[in-house]
């Protein structure tokens, strides 16, 4: 019998008033797999991630992470996920190192000074460890958020536009890190607007349109141009 997917969504719906943003999403992400979620602005990609991350309650359907229900067993889900959201989760008057120390301690991890510095070094922020985040650019803040995920090493990664604001070097590092997460048996669900970076790491691409997964296919079977055409087909249908 096949193992249960690390992320399992079945008939998932989320409505804000009369607006049904998600309307029957079915999607599985297995261990060692990365799925890139494509969709036009407002297609519900971020909403979907927030439901899986237990930040929003679904209106209907099932969302499970590592076998735990995202509504009834949210605490168990939270212990297994790492979320990279639009906001960087940084306190501007703390240094980079202090921000990492805060979030790792709060998540119950015992981040040693060496571990914190190693995580900063991984995202090329070690020389700025003692600098206040107030002076950081958007990309640097993004890298600091990624360092947090490196430290807490969750089994399931939920990434909202992870490559946004990253320079090529940081993007390349992220490719390597996500590949390592997959190799270690983790699962990755990430949203992206890019047909370049991100899709290289993804095993499957799912296109979200009209609140559903309109297309779910293996990346290996398609080239970047094929994916772009599929994306345009489904997003044009939407408009």
């Amino acid at each position: 019998m096949a193992a249960e997917p690390l992320i399992h969504l079945a008939g998932l719906g989320k409505a804000f008033g009369a607006d049904r943003v998600l309307d029957g999403v079915d999607l599985d992400v297995r261990a060692g797999e990365a799925v890139a979620l494509l969709g036009a602005n407002g297609a519900g990609k971020t909403t979907l991630l927030r439901v899986v991350a237990t930040l929003l309650r679904p209106t209907r359907g099932v969302a499970r992470v590592a076998g735990f229900d995202c509504v009834r067993e949210a605490e168990w889900v939270r212990a297994r996920i790492g979320l990279l959201a639009h906001g960087a989760w940084v306190y501007e008057d703390l240094t980079a190192l202090e921000n990492l120390k805060f979030w790792t301690t709060l998540s119950g991890s015992s981040g040693t000074a060496e571990g914190l510095r190693a995580a900063l070094a991984a995202v090329d922020l070690e020389r700025l460890a003692g600098e206040r985040v107030r002076t950081f650019s958007l990309g640097m803040r993004r890298r600091l958020s990624l360092a947090r995920l490196v430290l807490t090493a969750p089994r399931v990664l939920l990434l909202d536009e992870p490559y946004a604001g990253l320079d090529p070097r940081a993007g390349k590092w992220l490719d390597g890190h996500l590949t390592a997460v997959k190799a270690a048996g983790g699962a990755i669900l990430m949203t992206t607007h890019s047909f370049g970076r991100g899709l290289g790491v993804a095993d499957r691409v799912a296109i979200l349109a009209r609140g559903r997964v309109a297309h779910d296919t293996a990346v290996a079977a398609l080239g970047a141009d094929d994916i772009r055409q599929l994306y345009e087909l489904h997003t044009e249908e939407m408009s």
Binding site: L55, E75, R78, A79, V90, Y91, D93, E98
Partner: protein, 225 residues
């Protein structure tokens, strides 16, 4: 141990943030100074009026500056979506609440100390002889204020009209603390032993316990919104 570490890291974060930015502290100290000037201007040199009004004025100063400070308690969490991070942090969320209460308590006590010193200078009041009793009363009152204030600050942090809602919701709940604190402070300033206001002190203590307990039990739901 993890619970204590998590509460401590929240207190440490608030302390470091405030120590570096001094945004709230500077605003509170300036506000307190302004209040004292106004009180002095309104009351003049009439010693009798002063003695009767002093405990109330002192706590009015504490409460007004506390409202300004507590209203900013979750500003940093709203910026850059740190609130989400707190929600997703595994474990008992009451540790976060207690850390925030401790941070707010510390800030309020610093401001109250400054207000108290300025009061003695502005109004020529001698509290040196009853300092220990006064500290005990102020501490009891401030713990209750910080406990319920932190909870309500979290409740209103993400609503649009929070500047209006926060004091409107909080002040009625604070009535037991205000009554107990003003009565006990009055007795201290008049040089009466604290035993004469034992019931008011019991009320203050009970309010502290109730507010802290309610905060610990409900903060998780408040944080989840």
């Amino acid at each position: 141990m993890s619970y204590v570490r998590r509460a401590w890291i929240v207190l440490w974060k608030d302390f470091m943030t405030e120590r570096r930015s001094k945004e709230t502290l500077n605003a509170l100290l300036f506000f307190a100074l302004l209040l004292l000037f106004l009180f002095q201007f309104a009351l003049g040199d009439d010693r009798e009026r002063l003695a009767a009004a002093l405990p109330g004025l002192l706590w009015l100063g504490f409460i007004l500056s506390g409202l300004v400070g507590l209203g900013r308690a979750f500003l940093a969490e709203r910026d850059h979506d740190c609130w989400e991070g707190l929600v997703l942090a595994p474990g008992d969320k009451s540790a976060i609440y207690l850390g925030k209460v401790a941070g707010n308590l510390l800030l309020m006590l610093v401001v109250e100390t400054v207000i108290l010193v300025l009061f003695t200078v502005f109004f020529n009041v001698d509290v040196a002889g009853h300092l220990a009793a006064l500290v005990a009363v102020v501490l009891l009152g401030t713990v209750g204020f910080a406990a319920v204030g932190t909870l309500f600050a979290a409740m209103t942090a993400n609503v649009r009209a929070r500047e209006v809602l926060f004091p409107v919701l909080l002040l009625p709940i604070l009535v037991p603390v205000l009554l107990g604190a003003v009565k006990a402070t009055e007795a201290v300033i008049l040089g009466e032993p604290l035993s004469t206001v034992a019931r008011w002190l019991q009320l203050l203590g009970a309010a502290d316990v109730v507010y802290l307990t309610v905060g610990i039990l409900t903060f998780d739901a408040v944080l989840e919104g």
